[in-house]
Amino acid sequence: MRGFVAVLLRDLQLAVRAGGGAMLSLIFFASVVLLVPLGVGADHKLLAKAAPGLLWVAAALAVLLSLDRLFQADFEDGSLEQMTLGTAPLELIVLAKVLAGWLTTGLPLTVASPFFALQLHLEGEAALMLTLTLLIGTPGLSLVGAIAAALTLSVRRGGLLLSLLVLPLYVPFVIFGAGAVAAKVAGLSAVFALYMLGGLSALALVLALFAGAAALRLNLG
């Protein structure tokens, strides 16, 4: 447990200090939201209809862009190998690093999401529903992404490969995340989609721990 906390605090410190890029995903998210009305026009109804899916796709891309930082630097300078020498199991180290990653990408995005929702004319309960779905779903995005990040660790310039591996696996998250918000907008019950989203994140947790650690071992061994 001490190893877990140590890795978590270390990664958080690295992220918030100079060159860490903790808020970069949030800025990316804001830029995407800016481009959309410029691309499709500022019609209120159109934007409001597209907003749930759009914001979810933007969130998925923002998480995706943060993934290559997750293990890469520590792998290259050898600190990842040092961490495996301690008593903490590799699964726990993966969890600590993903949690630190989520706290600096998924969480800021979730907290700021109501404002972006308002910009795209998604208001009231629907905006709050968006925040709730992001709160439940983005940890899952980070976890699933961690598997692919660990798999592509030894691939030079693996960024494009990483997105090819991850984006098909994001399909269910985007469907149920945006689906819950769209259901709320249409006045339907969003409970089923929320349960599914929670289930997806829980499954991602189990998968990421085992597959992620196995992939790391593969690249370290």
């Binding site: 798999l151 030894s154 490969l161 591996l165 098909p168 399909v171 469907i175 149920f176 593969l218």
Partner: protein, 239 residues
């Protein structure tokens, strides 16, 4: 199982079986195509375009079946470190991707006269499209990692994560479809298919299966020989 871990034994056995598989596949597919074009009746609604089904549906079967083959090979390769299983998984992926592509293209060509559009975001089309992307990602990962043992393990992990995800993707796309579209799309197949249409379809399905195995053996032999060549080159280069 371990008998064939010896590349020499495998190469000999595979070369002996392969011509038979090619012959059987040609016979079945030629017969199936003849039946599909000349014996099977035209559909009262779809007219002659129903004949696309005899290529489309077996391709769809193969696209899923080969992913299953890859998954089994990945488990055997990852858990028992069987070298031939890794080769099988690697060799199967492009075959599966090709059948998935054929399935998408024929489905699109059938959709134009039937639905009036080349592409409909129907639940099936969408999930086959996702499956195609999963295949491509798997192939790309194999190509990106140079060391074959490491690449095999990484690809096996990816394949198994994909196996767990495919039913979830399928289910979520189905749910999405009911939310966004009325179920107005005409279903291509169903339990009500007439026997005169069913038997050419099954012959084609069997032919495609045998063809897949023939291609698989061919690709596996190529891979084994390529690795041998690589080892020889390394030895020659090392002095």
């Amino acid at each position: 199982m371990w008998h064939y871990a010896n590349p020499k034994t495998f190469l000999d056995t595979a070369s002996r079986f392969e011509p038979w598989l090619w012959g059987l596949a040609s016979f079945l597919i030629a017969g199936g195509l003849y039946a599909a074009f000349f014996l099977a009746p035209i559909d009262y609604q779809q007219k002659d375009s129903v004949r696309i089904m005899y290529v489309h549906v077996p391709s769809a079967w193969m696209s899923m079946f080969i992913y299953g083959v890859m998954a089994v090979a990945s488990i055997v390769g990852f858990a028992f470190k069987h070298p031939l299983a890794d080769v099988a998984a690697k060799a199967a992926a492009p075959i599966g991707a090709a059948f998935t592509f054929v399935c998408l293209v024929t489905g699109s060509l059938w959709g134009r006269p039937m639905w009036g559009t080349y592409w409909e975001w129907d639940a099936r089309i969408t999930s086959v499209f996702v499956l195609f992307l999963l295949y491509l990602g798997y192939i790309a990962l194999w190509r990106a990692i140079e060391d074959p043992t490491r690449a095999a393990k990484a690809a096996a992990i990816l394949c198994l994560v994909g196996v767990i995800n495919i039913p979830i993707i399928r289910f979520s796309v189905d749910w999405w479809n009911t939310l966004h579209q009325p179920a107005s799309v005409f279903r291509l197949d169903g339990p009500t298919i007439h026997p005169s249409m069913l038997w050419p379809l099954l012959v084609m399905g069997l032919g495609f299966t045998v063809l897949s195995f023939a291609l698989l053996l061919l690709r596996m032999r190529t891979e084994v020989l390529e690795r041998r060549l690589r080892a020889l080159r390394l030895r020659a280069g090392g002095g």
